[in-house]
């Protein structure tokens, strides 16, 4: 038999590895060897159906067939069932592309994640990579900036500032040196899109950064990645070397006169570094103390030079926009939220994972239809949207659309698109206390409302939980929250009251329970 080896895909995404994908890959290799079958095991990214991980796919004449969740001990029976040619087995899910979870999505940024070998330049090119960069090289910097503006792309880190306007400011600034900085300090609990993108399609963000560099005349760039992501770090280090070898970045971008040198830098376990000025201080080697604005980083950013600081997902949206046109991107979405949003569904949910959709889908569709409700099977009680600084919503508020303005109108925020589901065992007073505790641990300490307010907040919550003068302490809690909101220098102190007040306003019964002794901590 000289048939071509069967291609079998086993994810190398950290989430898949966390539930045993490495052992599955090894079992497939040894089982195939024992049976004398020629297989090529491709380590792809994750398709984002995380409850089905490890999700193994087999390439057949009719398309890729998915099996999952596969444990190493399932592998012999999969071979017995002829899974290498798509055979029937209890774990067989059908064609990956035809699965409901995949069919419902509009994947632009994540179109290649889980599909390709993440480090293969030829795979990347064969699936549409490089096209945005090639088109950008035929345009002037001003034209690239106009395309990004026209797409309506807004910063995907959470603030939602129009990306094109930021680029225009840097484009128009005059300086010897400009920088492109990618904020990959994805510290919000409930978010993992940046991680998945780096582990599944690392060249996309690199290409987006190269386009930004050409647009504004920057020659150096940094990806600031959190240290909690060792797998993404290894992938990015290898991808940058390969991207240089392929001419995507380096002394001459795709043979042009543009140079763009890119490095990945690791953070060191400080949540505040997701705030852009704090991130810049950290890149400069300092304590990550937030800077006052102005001056804007676009004018005086890294080492005082004009700097684009964008989130991973903002850069990653750009190649598609350049390739398909600004209008095609803007055709997705609603209101002032254009394009698609990679939503991350986690916490106590049956089917969690990554869902990329145009803005406008409701939380209920995401959590109930796609997520299937809670993992515990108990009723949904609270949903936190937008990370640790985002609001807690009730099960009755889930008909809100995923849209910057719609969430802001109900005093919530979209943030980086993370959704965390809680069942009815959650104690919302404890969650409010945690919001302050987290802020106290992670505050950079520069401004008083955040540094002192967070600690006072923990104390006030302790008094409320233990039943000490509750009405008076709730008044103090509201007063403290107002002060932190109004007077903090950045979003850390300014938004910590959002989860606190949403818990208090939406779940007042949890702030009036029979007093409990504090758990020993």
């Amino acid at each position: 038999m000289s048939a071509a080896p069967v291609r079998i895909f086993v994810p190398i995404d950290a989430a898949a590895l966390s539930v045993g994908a490495e052992a599955v890959a090894q079992a497939i290799a040894s089982e195939a060897a024992a049976r004398g079958l020629a297989v090529e095991i491709v380590r792809n990214g994750s398709r984002g159906m995380l409850w089905l991980e490890p999700l193994v796919e087999v390439e057949t004449a009719e398309g890729r067939i998915a099996y999952g969740p596969v444990a190493a001990r399932d592998v012999p029976s999969l071979f017995d069932a002829g899974f290498a040619s798509g055979g029937a087995h209890p774990l067989r899910l059908g064609k990956t592309e035809e699965l409901d979870w995949m069919k419902r999505q509009q994947r632009l940024t994540f179109e290649r994640v889980g599909v390709i070998d993440p480090l293969s330049i030829s795979d990347y090119r064969a699936h549409g990579g490089f096209k945005g960069l090639e088109k950008a090289l035929a345009l002037t910097g001003g034209e690239i900036v106009e395309a990004v503006k026209a797409s309506g792309l807004r910063g995907r880190g959470g603030a939602g500032f129009p990306t094109g306007i930021k680029w225009k400011t840097v484009h128009d600034a005059k300086a010897e040196q400009k920088y492109i900085v990618c904020n990959a300090d994805e510290g919000d609990s409930g978010t993992f899109a940046d991680r998945m993108l780096f582990e599944g399609d690392p060249y996309l963000t690199i290409e987006g950064m190269a386009i930004a560099a050409i647009a504004v005349g920057a020659t150096r760039g940094y990806i600031y990645l959190r240290s909690e992501y060792p797998h993404a770090h290894r992938m990015l280090q290898r991808a940058i070397l390969k991207a240089e070898a392929a001419g995507m970045i380096g002394a001459s971008v795709m043979g042009s006169s543009h140079a763009f040198h890119l490095e990945v830098r690791l953070g060191a376990g400080a949540y505040i570094c997701g705030e852009e000025t704090s991130l810049l201080e950290s890149l400069e080697g300092k304590r990550a103390i937030v800077r006052a604005k102005p001056p804007l980083p676009a004018l005086q950013g890294l080492f005082g030079k004009p700097t684009i600081v964008n989130n991973v997902l903002s850069f990653a949206a750009v190649p598609w926009i350049l390739d398909h046109g600004a209008r095609a991107y803007a055709d997705y979405g609603m209101g002032r939220s254009r394009g698609t949003l990679p939503v991350q569904l986690g916490g106590n949910v049956k089917r969690g994972g990554l869902i990329e959709l145009a803005f406008g889908i409701t939380l209920r569709e995401i959590i109930e239809d796609m997520g299937g409700g809670t993992l515990s099977g108990r009723p949904i009680r609270a949903v936190q949207v937008g990370g640790p600084l985002g609001a807690y919503l009730t099960a009755g508020q889930l008909d809100v659309q995923m849209d910057y303005e719609a969430l802001a109108a109900m005093r919530a925020m979209l943030g980086h698109g993370g959704i965390v589901v809680f069942d009815d065992s959650v104690d919302m007073a404890r969650q409010a206390r945690f919001a302050f505790e987290f802020c106290a641990k992670e505050s950079c300490g520069k401004c008083t409302p955040c540094r002192i307010g967070a600690t006072r907040g923990v104390e006030v919550m302790d008094r409320i939980i233990t039943g000490t003068e509750r009405p008076k302490n709730i008044a103090v809690l509201r007063d403290l929250s107002k002060l932190m909101t109004d007077a903090s220098l950045c979003a850390m102190g300014g938004l910590t009251p959002m989860p606190v007040l949403s818990a208090l306003n939406h779940f007042p019964e949890d702030f009036d329970r029979p007093p409990l002794p504090l758990a020993a901590e």
Binding site: W51, H231, A270, G285, P388, G418
Partner: protein, 158 residues
């Protein structure tokens, strides 16, 4: 299991010299020292300051700001247990309680044998929590028994 070298000023100087050319070299140097020795020895502070033409206070300030950097020798294994919201929703606090009650292991407390369990906020595995990071490997759907086993030097993935 990490195997760290004993602190050596000579090898620290070599590590620093290999990285001083970087823009904003402080964090890369601190990470490299910690990778080698398991911590950043206070004796490294003047070496870094001299190499980067910064004050000792600036280097000490950077080390003390970031949760990652340790200034004393560390156990061979650090288990980072996620205690952020998504893992809270899946009962990570019960894992913490059970570790203490059943296994006598205090999170953020003393070393157990040659291991220690630390709190971390988010490992990006929010749909498969509770999660832990051990020797650079991510573990999903973790429970107290698994963590306790890892403290006795089991492999992260068997």
């Amino acid at each position: 299991m990490a195997e760290y070298s004993a602190w050596s000023e000579d090898s620290a100087r070599l590590i620093i010299a290999g990285l001083v050319h970087l823009e904003g070299a402080t964090l890369p140097i601190l990470h490299a020292l910690q990778d080698e020795f398991g911590y950043v020895d206070p004796e490294a502070v003047p070496l870094i300051a001299e190499a980067l033409n910064l004050s000792r206070a600036e280097i000490h300030g950077a080390i003390s700001f970031y949760h990652d950097f340790k200034t004393t020798p560390q156990p061979a294994r650090t288990i980072k247990l996620c205690r952020a919201e998504a893992c809270q929703a899946l009962g990570c606090e019960s894992v913490v309680v059970e570790l203490a009650r059943t296994h006598g292991i205090a999170v953020d407390g003393d070393q157990v044998g040659d291991a220690r369990v630390e709190t971390v906020y988010c490992l990006g595995n929010c749909a498969l929590g509770p999660s832990a990071l051990v020797d650079g490997e991510l573990i999903g759907r973790v429970d107290a028994a698994r963590i306790a086993g890892l403290c006795k030097h089991g492999r992260a993935h068997s």
